[in-house]
């Protein structure tokens, strides 16, 4: 019998360029933890965003002569984008810290996956997790605002870019942070202000010059502006510029995550 034809069940497994099976397993694992209590993770953002919209509708109609429908139509895309970002950040970041504390991250550090495969799986799972919540919040906004979809391609692109960028930031923060305090501190004192002061609630054009210049340094501004362009067709920045910023940020962050996964920074001792 020819030696090559003997099927040795104990030989090392061979992969092509990509370990698809391993990636599929890591993704499934990420989804399981990301959707563990989905009814709560979906219902929470849906209700709190509905409250924001209701507040703005009531406040604007009782205090101003602004058209509440127009105001809500302007704010809704920003809130959807924000919901995608928050969830994507949480899926990778919170999960990583939890795994580090329970030492279960060894499960995927041991598995025969390359740093790129790991980074891709984290990016994809958090993007999809974020977009699920975004879709739910988006459906809710139909209660308050007219449905509008002026550039579906741009909408999808910026939804993916937002989810991925925050998923990657969450991954970096999850790798770096050793305690929950550090994680929540960065979230509250850096990410939240960046997201709130990014033109979610008011057109940038109305703001003073200095504020406008500052906001244009905020990468989240481009994501939200591009996303809003996809929905209502209004944009403060050129959508092409926004797309380039989104691609650039994601490329840098992806490289960074890949690098930390490869060196094992704060993951392997």
């Amino acid at each position: 019998m020819d030696a090559a034809t003997i099927q040795n069940p104990l030989r090392a497994r061979r992969f092509g360029a990509v370990n698809w099976l391993g990636c599929a397993h890591l993704l499934r694992r990420q989804f399981k933890s990301g959707f563990a209590d989905w009814h709560y993770t979906i219902l929470g953002p849906v209700i709190s965003n509905a409250l924001y919209l209701l507040l703005f509708a009531v406040a604007s109609s009782s205090l101003t002569r602004l058209d509440p429908k127009a105001l809500v139509g302007f704010i809704a895309p920003g809130l959807i984008c924000f919901a995608i970002a928050e969830r994507a950040f949480e899926v990778s970041g919170a999960n990583l810290i939890f795994e580090k504390h329970h030492n279960t991250h060894t499960d995927w550090l041991m598995a025969p996956l390359t740093a790129t495969e790991r980074a891709a799986c984290f990016a994809i799972s958090s993007t999809l997790g974020g977009m699920t919540i975004g879709a739910a919040v988006g459906l809710m906004t139909l209660l308050f605002a007219r449905p509008s979809l002026s550039a579906p391609g741009a909408l999808l692109f910026f939804a993916v870019a937002t989810g991925m960028m925050h998923g990657l930031i969450g991954t970096l923060l999850g790798i770096w942070a050793q305690k929950w305090d550090q994680y929540t501190a960065l979230h509250t004192f850096v990410l939240l202000p960046l997201a709130f002061l990014s033109g979610v609630f008011a057109p940038v054009q109305q703001m003073p010059e200095a504020a406008q210049a500052l906001i244009r340094l905020n990468p989240i501004f481009y994501l939200i502006d591009g996303f809003r362009y996809g929905m209502i067709g209004e944009a403060a920045a050129d959508p092409m510029v926004s797309a380039l910023v989104a691609i650039g940020m994601n490329a840098v962050l992806f490289w960074w995550v890949h690098r930390w996964f490869r060196t094992g920074y704060r993951l392997k001792s």
């Binding site: 209701l54 507040l55 205090l63 939240l192 709130f196 002061l197 008011a202």
Partner: protein, 276 residues
């Protein structure tokens, strides 16, 4: 060997005898209170700074979005109208968060015995816990007020109203937090109460708009929310304008707190959800 009940051996307890208190165990009460205060002071970044920053963000967001289109509310600029409401929201949410998280975490970690075993009466427990939450609410309120001073014009028209409503609101939410902490068994339960009851009640309390300018039906809804009276009375202390009745507000806060103290006291006395 036999024991003679009629002639017990004289035992000198020295300093080991049972401790005697007068009506109130002041040492125990002070210990419980300082434990509650140290619990939040040791993580002040999360318990004081974080709510302060979030409240400032809310102020920025609403002023940016609506400020330019609002002439005047209650006789003042929108920012001056908004600021006291937001401070009161921070006080209310943090008073609630302090007691509810303290009790729930103790229950889950098993160190709730530290609250149940010491020689404290149910009423002393109620007072110690509530005073801890009251302190957190006031500290966050003062921090937020100071942080807002550079941005918003906030002259204080009636300091007594500011103080009365700040204390009563913080106390009320602390007591509700104790009840929620006693009732809840998992973090999910508490998250549900916070997200589906406390936050909506705080948001729809008239902090962001003037209830007097709402359609009559929604004005009625606002008046049914206890947080409306906290915010309305507190804001009156700053801007000298109220949307509802001030007397009703004062009495409702007094009545609600009296009832909640009684209820918490009864729950601690029976050991509901605390003692097996």
């Amino acid at each position: 060997m036999s024991f003679s009940p009629s002639a017990p051996a004289p035992v000198d307890h020295g300093n080991l005898g049972p401790r005697r208190y007068r009506t109130i165990n002041w040492v125990g009460l002070w210990t419980l209170y300082s434990k509650e205060v140290r619990r939040f002071m040791s993580v002040a970044t999360q318990t004081i700074l974080a709510p302060m920053v979030t409240t400032l963000l809310f102020l920025a967001v609403f002023v940016l979005a609506l400020g330019h289109a609002v002439d005047q509310v209650g006789g003042v600029a929108y920012m001056s109208f908004l600021a006291p409401g937001l401070i009161m929201m921070a006080i209310a949410q943090n008073g609630f968060a302090n007691t509810s998280s303290s009790i729930l975490i103790s229950k889950i970690q098993g160190n709730i015995v530290d609250l149940l075993m010491p020689p404290l009466s149910p009423l002393e427990r109620t007072v110690g816990m509530a005073a801890g939450g009251l302190t957190r609410g006031l500290v966050v309120g003062i921090a937020t007020w100071v942080a807002m001073l550079p941005f918003a014009e906030m002259p204080i028209a009636h300091p007594v109203f500011v103080a009365y409503h700040a204390i009563m609101a913080s106390l009320m939410m602390s007591l509700i937090g104790v009840l929620a902490g006693v009732w809840a068994e998992k973090f999910d339960h508490m998250a549900a109460i916070t997200n589906f009851v406390v936050t909506p009640a705080a948001f729809l309390s008239g902090a962001f708009y003037s209830a007097a300018r709402l359609p009559p039906f929604w004005e009625q809804v606002a008046h049914a929310n206890p947080l409306f009276y906290m915010i309305d009375g507190f804001r009156y202390g700053f801007i000298g304008h109220a949307d509802g009745s001030l007397t009703a507000g004062i009495l409702i806060m007094l009545g609600a707190n009296a009832f909640l103290i009684w209820l918490t006291w009864r729950l601690f006395a029976t050991g509901y959800h605390l003692k097996a």
